[in-house]
């Protein structure tokens, strides 16, 4: 294929010298960094990660139990690559793109080693429709044709590292991914499949600044701390605070066209949950099953750590490939801490000098290289595509001062800080509204003006101010009780409570509340603001806080969340609110 590192004749055989867990040492082996090697009689897949004198040190992607010194090691001369082409969507892979469904068929319910399976089906035929004709000039990355893969159209592109040329012949019809479908004037023949080394970013024409939000349907995210399409976000939090649920919510409801979900060193059941749930869920926009736009990578906590290390690269390469077709892709990595720990484990077996908390000194560099692969871009073929990256972080003891969280926060633009105090009281999503931030607010300002409402930005700022004020007031309340507050501030406390309980709290498991579009978000926030405006006016007119708090219609507002066609009910509540306040004011 195109991406071969070296020629085939350079392959060499060496001998294993030492085995200690996932890291093994070979000698008498001609190797370069990151070459893929086959280890032992069972030909387990591994990758060269260090060369020291005669010793070639290899991380093995499978369990090394039973391997002995003296067994052979073969260098394939290739770098760790993924297969890219029709068949990616709806698949579930392990960290090195072995399709888990195929593995079940090949070796049963438990993952045994030494079994390989290609990432894509090489037998299945796809209907290829050419979009260029003989004589057309094509540049690297150019779209030559397309395949209707699921409800998603899969664009077949000239590999980015191929030479430009003129199309000599191009076919139309049903082909496997290996069959030649077009030939360029230099005589080179191309099938649909391409391979790309996972550790190398795929090239683009230009990186641009994001200006459009990734709409997630989650009120606290869209409303207060939005992420842009092509942006980066981190979601750190202690165990059980809601990282996975939030990531799954984004995978379900965000308005990306393609979703790549990486379960990196996490639970098997969580991947099963996605697998069972997604096929029956519909994309709110297209009405098609969500699974059809999804690629899953599952390298669970009990699967080999070296493959866990590779899983994020496998995922992001697939994401970039779809981006190159002009799609908005969002990638969730749950959890980047487990990836960092895999690096740490491998590094400590290499007896490298440890940095902070035992992590390798290159931790920060790896993290930033990874997040840099996100972005809104102009692709080589001139389209606009994006990869948004949302990484979960699992800090030990929930303490954000640890290296993975800190190094991540230096790179990403959005910080969704999960808070155990909130999750313990079942305030979900347990995202702390005081500590979280989004650096995209300015960039997205115009979009909200235009697409949501002219006063959206203002209303958002208002809500943030109320929440900020509440935090200050709470400190006083803790000392003297709420009755001691001035009257207007008692109203503020109530309004803040409404923002928290009505707007911010959102139940991922409620059929309606799980997704909330921007219009409804706006309407809900405006209704709370309406109450606030009435309340402050009434208070100035001499109505007591106790009376204001006893306004009945406001108690109906939380119900809006659970109603799909909420508009009539909301209008009724707003009318009742108006009437109640009128009565109060005239009595005062």
């Amino acid at each position: 294929m195109e991406v071969k590192g070296k020629q085939a004749q350079e392959q060499k055989q060496g001998v294993l010298k030492r085995i200690a867990g996932p890291v093994v040492t070979a000698v008498n082996l001609d190797a370069h960094m990151y070459d893929v090697v086959k280890v032992g009689k069972e030909q387990l897949m591994g990758e060269v990660i260090k060369i020291q004198g005669d010793n070639v040190i290899i991380q093995v992607y499978e369990d090394t139990t039973g391997i002995r010194p003296g067994e052979p090691v073969t260098n394939t001369g290739l770098s760790l690559s993924v297969e890219l082409g029709p068949g990616l969507l709806t698949s579930i892979y392990d960290g090195i793109q072995r399709p888990l469904e195929v593995l079940v068929n090949k070796m049963g319910n438990f993952i045994q080693r030494g079994v390989t399976a290609p990432g894509l089906s090489h037998d299945k035929k796809w209907t290829f429709k050419p979009l260029v004709k003989a004589g057309d000039k094509v540049e690297p990355g150019a779209i030559l044709g397309e395949v209707q893969e699921t409800n998603i159209v899969h664009k077949i592109m000239l590999p980015p590292n191929a030479k430009a040329g003129v199309v000599k012949t191009i076919k139309s019809g049903d082909f496997t991914i290996d069959e030649i479908i077009y030939v360029l004037d230099d005589g080179r023949e191309y099938p649909m499949i391409q391979r790309w080394p996972v550790r190398v970013p795929r090239p683009v024409r230009e990186k641009k600044n994001p200006t459009i939000p990734l709409i997630t349907g989650q009120r606290i995210l869209d409303g207060l701390f939005p992420i842009a399409k092509g942006g980066t976000a981190a979601i750190p939090g202690p165990f059980g605070s809601g990282k996975t649920v939030t990531q799954q919510q984004l995978a379900k409801w965000s308005d990306a066209e393609i979703v790549v979900y990486i379960g990196c060193g996490e639970r098997g059941n969580e991947m099963t949950e996605v697998l069972t749930e997604f096929p029956s869920l519909e994309d709110p926009k297209s009405g098609k099953p969500l699974m059809e736009r999804t690629v899953l990578i599952a390298n669970t906590s009990n699967m080999p750590v070296a493959a866990r290390e590779a899983s994020v690269y496998t995922g992001i390469t697939i994401a970039e490939y779809f981006r190159d077709m002009g799609y908005d892709v969002s990638l969730m990595a749950d959890s980047t801490s487990r990836w960092a720990e895999a690096m740490r484990e491998i590094s400590s077996r290499l007896e490298e000098m440890p940095g902070e908390e035992g992590y390798p000194a290159y931790l920060a560099a790896r993290l930033s290289e990874f997040y840099e692969r996100a972005g809104l871009v102009e692709t080589l073929n001139g389209k606009s595509g994006s990869v948004s990256v949302i990484g979960a972080v699992s800090p030990p003891g929930g303490d954000f001062s640890e290296p993975v969280t800190q190094n991540t926060l230096r790179i990403v633009k959005v910080f969704w800080a999960l808070d155990a105090k909130l999750s313990q009281r079942r305030h979900f999503p347990a995202i702390n509204w005081l500590n979280s931030y989004s650096l995209y607010l300015d960039a997205l300002h115009d979009y909200y003006d235009r697409e949501v409402a002219p006063d959206w930005n203002k209303t958002r700022s208002w809500a943030m101010e109320v929440l900020q004020k509440e935090a200050e007031l709470q400190e006083i309340v803790q000392l003297v009780g709420s009755d001691a507050l001035p009257e207007s501030e008692q109203v503020t406390i109530e309004v803040a409570r409404m923002i928290r309980e009505i707007f911010l709290q959102q139940n991922a498991y409620d059929a309606v509340d799980t997704f909330c579009d921007m219009k409804k978000q706006y309407d809900m926030m405006k209704a709370i603001k309406l109450f606030a405006d009435y309340a402050y006016a009434a208070q100035l007119a001499g109505v007591s806080p106790a009376q204001i708090l006893s306004v009945k219609s406001k108690n109906e507002l939380p119900q809006i969340k659970f109603i799909k066609d909420y508009k009539p009910e909301l209008a009724k509540i707003e009318k009742d609110m108006d009437a109640e306040f009128n009565t109060l004011r005239s009595a005062a």
Partner: protein
């Protein structure tokens, strides 16, 4: 089998053997002492020059004159149906005076990872009869739900009550208990055994006992033997297996001891950097498999050093398991049994096992509402200590009372009190009905009209 006499170093549980033929990684090793005693171990690191062997027992008596035999195979566990009712040592040898186990199979104790694609989604509600679990932190078949406790708290009683009362309502399927003790005292072990005997549970149980005075390093294999047995019973014999592992803290101490002996760079508080991965290789051995009948449900018990939930042992456990049941010293001091603090407790698979057709349609929302009320009421206790009850608003006063009611009516129950899920939810509604109805913002109107004791009754009168 060739016997080497080339031991050149012994450090802690590790024995270093020189100049061997190629030895396989993780191979089972027998070290033969001068008096003929055999100690078992496992290869941790192998190369032409040196093989590092971790011994599962004490290294007492091992010297440079000891013989080392490499068996050529990894550690296997003989398993069979006959194991039910048997008591084995932490190393898997019968210690109940009964005969050796006639194996139907010999299985690798490491256990391969279940392919995520092959997993079945846990969804069967297990009724434990304990309200704080069933009502607010529901356990389902195939889940791994640990008990986070601390020294001097009644976690054993809670575990026993679960083991005794656990059932899937309406199902009469085959069940079994696998109990693995790691480093617990003889007295604690007796307590478990007495209860198993009293209730007849022993017949359906396989017990592994590594007690406090048994070799610490053996604790590394005890849970693996237990889980291998559980997987066999579940996935080959189709049984629903509840695995109790206690005390995981002792397991982690053994792990730390080996790490230190290998002079590894330690992670947090001296525990090895790979402890997450190691614990995952145990906890992930819970679950169900599509198309197979059985299931493995795990209840690991751990004692939090210094009552600290951020300590690496509970922390890493919580990051792997599907929730946790937290036993609280404060509730225990108040004389409340079971002293389960629901606030830091969680069952992540709860939503899969509850609701219409499984428990009751109002389950989730009642639970959420109780959490919200209890959390707020609990906070107010701090405030009351400063400003006094009189400074509270009416709303807050009711919440404060709700917190007390919650502890005394919902949390508190008898050691032998086996509540149905209906009982549990009804108690929930009873105490929630002390709050003004408009404060029940987590529950939709429909459910309130249907279940709220005051409104429901009122509706009847009309």
């Amino acid at each position: 089998m060739k016997e080497y006499r080339t031991i050149n170093k012994i450090a802690g549980p590790l024995v270093f053997v020189e100049k061997t033929e190629p030895i396989a990684y993780q191979e089972l090793v027998n070290v033969v002492l001068a008096d003929g005693t055999i100690k078992r171990g496992q290869v941790l690191d192998t190369s032409d020059e040196l093989v590092v062997v971790q011994i599962f027992e004490t290294t007492t008596g091992i010297g440079k004159d000891s013989g080392v035999r490499f068996t050529g195979e990894t550690i296997k566990m003989p398993v069979g149906k006959e194991m039910l009712g048997r008591i084995l040592s932490g190393g898997g040898k019968p210690i109940d005076g009964g005969p050796e186990i006639v194996p139907e199979k010999r299985l690798d104790i490491t256990g391969a990872a279940i392919n995520p694609y092959a997993r079945g989604m846990p969804a069967d509600f297990i009724q434990t009869g304990i309200s704080t679990i069933d009502g607010t932190n529901t356990l389902v078949r195939g889940q791994k739900l640990p008990i986070f406790s601390a020294a001097g708290l009644p976690h054993n009683n809670v575990a026993l009550q679960i083991a005794r009362q656990a059932k899937v309502p309406g199902s009469t399927e085959n069940f079994a208990v696998v109990f693995a003790a790691m480093g617990i005292t003889k007295e604690e072990a007796n307590y478990f055994m007495a209860d198993f005997e009293r209730t007849g549970a022993l017949e359906r149980a396989v017990v592994f006992l590594n007690l406090a005075d048994d070799p610490a390093v053996e604790r590394i294999i005890t849970p693996r033997l237990a889980l291998t047995t559980a997987e066999y019973l579940a996935f080959e014999l189709g049984m629903h297996v509840l695995v109790i592992l206690t005390d995981m803290t002792n397991y982690c101490e053994a792990l730390r001891q080996i790490g230190a002996a290998r002079e590894e760079v330690p992670g947090r508080r001296g525990y090895p950097g790979y402890m997450y991965t190691d614990l995952a290789s145990l906890y992930e051995r819970a679950g169900m498999i599509k198309g197979l009948k059985g299931s493995v449900t795990q209840i690991p018990i751990l004692t939090m050093p210094g009552d600290d939930i951020t300590h690496p042992i509970p922390d890493l456990t919580g990051y792997i398991t599907e929730g946790q049941i937290v036993v609280s010293r404060e509730l225990h001091r108040k004389g409340i049994y079971p002293p389960i603090n629901v606030l830091p407790s969680l069952s992540r698979l709860m939503n899969l096992g509850i609701g219409k057709g499984k428990t009751r349609e109002d389950h989730k929302k009642v639970s959420d509402q109780m959490y919200a009320g209890y959390a707020e009421g609990n906070d107010l206790r701090g405030l009351v200590a400063i400003v006094g009850k009189d400074a509270l608003s009416e709303r807050d006063r009711l919440l404060l009372e709700f917190a007390d009611l919650f502890e005394n009516r919902f949390v508190r129950q008898g050691y032998d009190e086996d509540r149905t899920i209906e009982d549990t939810l009804n108690i929930g509604w009873d105490i929630l009905s002390t709050l003004p109805v408009e404060q029940l913002t987590r529950i939709d109107r429909e459910l309130i009209n249907k279940y709220h004791p005051k409104i429901k009754a009122g509706a009847k009168k009309e």
